[in-house]
């Protein structure tokens, strides 16, 4: 069972696993489906999580994640290797998700996943729901709903940057490559998005 208790990190290009990744990509380009299956297993959790945090809906995330991997397979011949396979795959998933959200604008429907049991023991979250920090009593489920509603109020580009950096732990440089903008834009979007979120969630966080 997946637990997202640790932020996803971008794979280190020098790691041994990445040498194998190049081999898997070459085999998958020749139509070797078991090799592609291995690539899917490697990135399925991060791709799913990013899409899920963007949509706030498990069913949509499932469909979009599968579609992203299928599209990536069909476009594998056009993958030149200029970036890592992971970044290229991430870009496909991000574009697919943003296109989906644009079509579904103002039709948000939350279908949130359950919280992992360990959330109740996270000291930061315990501090947030203790009577010292918040201005009102809340439990984790309510906090989860409010947080997701606040995220959905952000524009897609701003939400994407927050999700990738603050939730997934992706670096500014990687985000710039995935989203297709410069690092300064990533930083300014992140700052603005955080400001917005802070305003939406003012009742739940100490400012």
């Amino acid at each position: 069972m997946l637990t997202m208790s640790e932020p996803a990190t971008v794979p280190d290009p020098n790691a041994p696993a990445n040498v194998l990744e190049g081999d898997l990509v070459r085999r998958a380009r020749r139509g070797d489906l078991p090799a592609y299956d291995e690539l899917v297993k490697r990135y399925q959790e991060r791709i799913y999580a990013t899409i899920y945090h963007m949509t706030g809906n498990h069913e949509d995330a499932n469909d979009l994640a599968q579609d992203s991997f299928i599209k990536a397979y069909s476009a594998l011949k056009s993958f030149k290797g200029g970036s890592s396979f992971y970044t290229w795959l991430y870009r496909i998933a991000v574009n697919k998700t943003i296109n989906f959200l644009k079509q579904r604008r103002n039709k948000h429907h939350l279908s949130l996943n359950d919280l992992d049991f360990n959330a109740e023991h996270d000291p930061d979250l315990v501090a947030l729901i203790s009577d010292k920090t918040p201005t009102r009593d809340v439990n984790l489920i309510e906090l989860q709903n409010k947080l997701n509603e606040a995220l959905l109020k952000l524009s897609e580009p701003h939400r994407m940057v927050v999700v990738l950096h603050d939730v997934q732990g992706v670096s500014h440089e990687e985000i710039a490559e995935v989203v297709g903008c410069n690092i300064g834009t990533v930083r300014s979007r992140l700052f603005y998005a955080r400001q917005q979120l802070q305003g939406y969630l003012a009742d739940y966080i100490k400012t």
Binding site: M1, V40, S74, L112, S188, L197
Partner: protein
């Protein structure tokens, strides 16, 4: 605009909650299998009949693809084909009857014409001994054709055109 100027620490702590949202148990056990199955289905025959035909053949595939996108064209084409067939049958019928009438006239004008078979000749002209020297055209097809006048009105079909000609000696 630096992060130092803003205190986002509590917000970051709150955003950590997102990392604890997990999909249903066992969800990722079948995920890659589902993806690969969908890829295999797409390669093996997930395409529609029309898409496969279009991929396999050129011109005819494109025509079928157009029909797939505009199904009304199929009905239009079928109607056109039926009308064309009907027109062809009527035209053939008219040309045959016209040919028979021409043959009859030719046979009457020259009974010894070699291209008129004895049977047909006997059918369209009576022996002079039977008619008292007058040959009568009894061809029903030729005789029942309405005659169009210059004024555009048809002659009464009840009038049977009869050819009188002197009996050959």
């Amino acid at each position: 605009m630096s992060e130092k100027n803003e205190n986002f620490e509590d917000l970051k702590k709150l955003l950590k909650l997102k990392r604890y949202e997990i999909p249903p148990p066992g969800y990722f056990n079948n995920f890659s299998g589902d993806v690969v199955s969908r890829i295999r289905a797409g390669e093996a025959g997930g395409q529609s009949f029309f898409e496969r035909i279009q991929a396999d053949s050129g011109f005819w595939g494109n025509i079928l693809f157009v029909f797939q996108r505009k199904p009304g064209l199929i009905g239009g084409l079928a109607t056109s084909m039926c009308l064309l067939l009907l027109f062809g049958v009527v035209l053939l019928d008219h040309s045959e009857s016209g040919q028979m009438a021409t043959d009859a006239v030719t046979a009457e004008a020259s009974p010894s014409a070699p291209d008129v078979s004895p049977t047909l000749a006997s059918a369209i002209s009576l022996e002079p001994s039977d008619t008292g020297g007058i040959a009568v055209n009894t061809n029903p097809v030729a005789s029942l054709q309405p005659v169009t006048t210059f004024a555009g009105s048809s002659a009464n079909p009840l009038f049977q055109p009869v050819g009188f000609m002197p009996a050959s000696q």
